[in-house]
Structure formats: structure tokens, C-alpha cells
Symmetry: C2
Subunit: 246 residues, 2 copies
């Protein structure tokens, strides 16, 4: 579980993301690479952090796929976000002591934990990096807002189309899309929990999207056959992902 190594080569995805926001100096890059880390390789369906915890470190996803979620008293679940390599899904724990939701790996993944104290020193020493990390949490919030619109106002059909658009764009941004295809290992139950739907209904809408030849879904693989029809179906506009530089 513990890994004494430092300066693993795996800040690359995170650095890529930060560089997409603006220039990163050699000094800043070095400061990030020097962050102490603890490596972990969760199996699929394993909680990384739980609601109620007061973690002392943040989790950076190196490989795999993760999500954040909340459980209701009766056991129903709402998935709040999906996370790809380069994301720090619980960066908010740096400033919010107690987790108001849980973080889980959805696939066997590789993550590193970075102590809050180290991040705090980093941010206090490098205001530009602070801005970038802050910005990252703000994009996070922007995605929440877009999901709220879907959950509150869009039909099941549009919601699913929209989520697929978002995932394709996010995967593409981290080099995990081959053309119009992504490796998406989500069960229909997981999709339903993200979309505020029942898995039965998700199943039916997926059949419709396939029948209309807008997408193709085989085991763990989503292929977009007609991007324009998918974005139209989901009323998708990627502005909310704020991929352009700050």
C-alpha cells in the first residue's frame, strides 16, 4: 500500500491539465513532482474515501475510472461525477474538513494520495498553481451545474445523450478516445445512478439510441456513430467544460 518512491512519472496527466490552463514554469513543475505520495491500486467498486471521513490527503487518479456519489437513507444512490486520470476528485477536502460524499473507483485503478499539508505548502508558495488548482475545482462545479440542468429539466433520452457527449469529450481531452470510440465500462445501474433514472429505463433508452443508429454499445465500449445527432439529442454544448485556457 505504501510506496516510498517520490517523483513518479505519473504527474504527467495532471501537469498536462494544468498546462492546458496556462504556462507552468520548471520550478512549479518540479514543486509538483516533489509532492510526497502514497500509491494505491484499488480494485473496481472500492471506496477510496467515504462520506463523513475527515481525510488528511487528496486523491489523484493516475489510471482507471472513479466516481463520487451520495447514498440516501433508503439505499438509493446518486452519482455526482465521473473522474479520469489527471483528476483530483476530492481536492475540496483540502478546505472542507468533512467529506459530504464518497469517492470510489469504478474500475481497477491506480491512484496516489497527497498529504493536505504538502498541497497547502505548495499553494502558499505558488499562487499561480493555486489559481490553477482552484480553477480545477471550479470546473468541477460547472459540471455539477450542467448535471443539475439535466437532472431537473431534461428527458431521460436527452440526459443519456448528454452524458455520453460529456464522457467522449472528457476522454478525448486526456487521450483516452480513439476517434469516435471510448472504453466505457459502466453498467446500466451505474448509468442510472448518475442520471437519476431506473436501470430499466436506461436500458430502454439505450435501445432507442442504438436503434436510431446514433451510438453503438458493446461490452465496455461506446462508439458514437453520429456525433451531430448525439449532441442534438443531448442539447450538448461543451462550453461548460471550460476546456479552453482560463
Amino acid at each position: 500500500m505504501h510506496d516510498p518512491l517520490r517523483s513518479q512519472p505519473n504527474y504527467d496527466r495532471l501537469l498536462d491539465k494544468l498546462e492546458s490552463m496556462g504556462p507552468v514554469t520548471q520550478e512549479q513543475r518540479a514543486a509538483i513532482r516533489d509532492l510526497p505520495i502514497r500509491v494505491s491500486e484499488p480494485k473496481g467498486d472500492e471506496d477510496l474515501v467515504r462520506e463523513g471521513d475527515a481525510p488528511k490527503e487528496c486523491c489523484l487518479v493516475l489510471e482507471g475510472f472513479a466516481c463520487r456519489y451520495k447514498l440516501l437513507p433508503d439505499g438509493r444512490r446518486q452519482i455526482l461525477s465521473f473522474h479520469v486520470p489527471g483528476d483530483i476528485p476530492d481536492l475540496q477536502s483540502l478546505h472542507l474538513r468533512k467529506m459530504d460524499h464518497s469517492l470510489a473507483a469504478l474500475l481497477p485503478s491506480r491512484v496516489v494520495y497527497i498529504p493536505h499539508e504538502a498541497i497547502r505548502r505548495l499553494t502558499h508558495a505558488h499562487p499561480r498553481l493555486t489559481d490553477m488548482l482552484w480553477r480545477d475545482t471550479l470546473v468541477d462545479a460547472a459540471v455539477f451545474r450542467e448535471w443539475m440542468v439535466g437532472l431537473g429539466r431534461r428527458s431521460a433520452y436527452a440526459r443519456i445523450a448528454h452524458l455520453f457527449c460529456e464522457l467522449v469529450v472528457k476522454f478525448r481531452a486526456v487521450g483516452l478516445a480513439k476517434d469516435d470510440t471510448i472504453e466505457l465500462r459502466l453498467t446500466q445501474v451505474e448509468l442510472a445512478d448518475a442520471l437519476g433514472l431506473s436501470s430499466v429505463h436506461v436500458n430502454r433508452v439505450l435501445q432507442q439510441l442504438r436503434g436510431e443508429e446514433i451510438i453503438q454499445m458493446r461490452t465496455g465500449r461506446l462508439q458514437v456513430l453520429e456525433w451531430s445527432r448525439l449532441t442534438a439529442a443531448g442539447e450538448f454544448n461543451e462550453d461548460y467544460l471550460h476546456l479552453a485556457a482560463a
Copy 2:
């Protein structure tokens, strides 16, 4: 529209909020009070910032009531958050160039606009203030998450009860609640747009909540008759508001 005055006494609510997160030194307090501002007094139902804008300043609410929202192509609306005095609803614009949603006053209000450049200088000079402002945007995101759960998984009845709980707690936190009563000037259409419901259905559920003598609602006035039953109905737990110090 423009007001050359500086050091208005109205940073009090913001300073109160920051102080609730941790100690604020005299120097930091002075730095905030010295921020240049432009005062504005929007009428009710007036947009302060619009989706697509690239604002060069942030908006601090001094008095009144505001909300953020998104419009769908067909004109339907999803309200994303409500804001009370002391809030900086569009602080995210400091790091996200283009607004992905709009900000509007719901009542005649008083707000000030603070230039991004001034805030940026402030944060780069005062890492502790940065942490606090960052934290504020993180609480914002935490509220989005809780709303997502409501929109995705809770019944109309629970959603409304939950929102009322949240509003009472938020109003109380800024001294705008008298005992169990708040001045809540929201139309049923506005409630519906926040809750992802139709106004007709909101009306019916409100009647139920009144009939059960859990709340009382007269014009612009919400009184909670039985807090325990309201929180139970809404499955409300205020942890997500992160009111306790960092």
C-alpha cells in the same frame, strides 16, 4: 451606476462569513475593505451577469436575494442556487473566463462589483484569504451536489422540504431569520424552476405541507411550524453546508 466611494461599510457580511471560517487579521480585513467597488441596485428580476459574458469583475451581494440559473433551448429554466447577502455568486468568473450560466436578482437588491484584477492581487498577496475564498466556492459546489441528489433521487415532497430547510439555515446564518420564520419572496414558478418541478405540482405539495401543519406560507413569508418534521420530510442534514469552521 458608478460609485466612487471606497471602504463602504458593507463588507461586514462577507467578513462575517470569512471569520466563520477562521481568524482574519486586521491587515487582511483592511485589504478587503480597500477593494475598489462599483455599486449597483438592481430591481427584482434583473440579470446581473449573463451566460456567455466574460465579466471582468465579481459580484458581491450586500442586500437582497439573488439566484443563478440556466435556460434550455425551449425556454425552460433551471435555477442552480440562491444567494443571500455576503455571497459572491460569480466568484468562479475569476478563473473561468466565460459564464456558463446567468446571475439574477430576484428582489430589489444592493450589490457591488469588484474588479478581477483587484481580487487577484488580493489573493496573491494573502494566501490565507485565498484559502477562504476558495473554500467559499467549494461550499458552493457542495450545495450543488446536495441539489443533484434532490433533483435526481428525491420526491417532490422531499425536495421542497429540503429546500426550505436549507433556506432557513442559510438565512439564519446571516441573521435574516426571526426564530422559525424567514422572509421568502419566491413565487411558485421560481420554486419550481429550482426544484425541477412544474409550478402546478409545487402548488399542490405546498398545500400538503401546509395541511400537515409542518409549515405556514403567506405572502413572502415562510414559517416552519415543526422543524423536526420538516427535516424528516426533506431528509435534511446540514453537514453539506459546511457551516463549521474549516
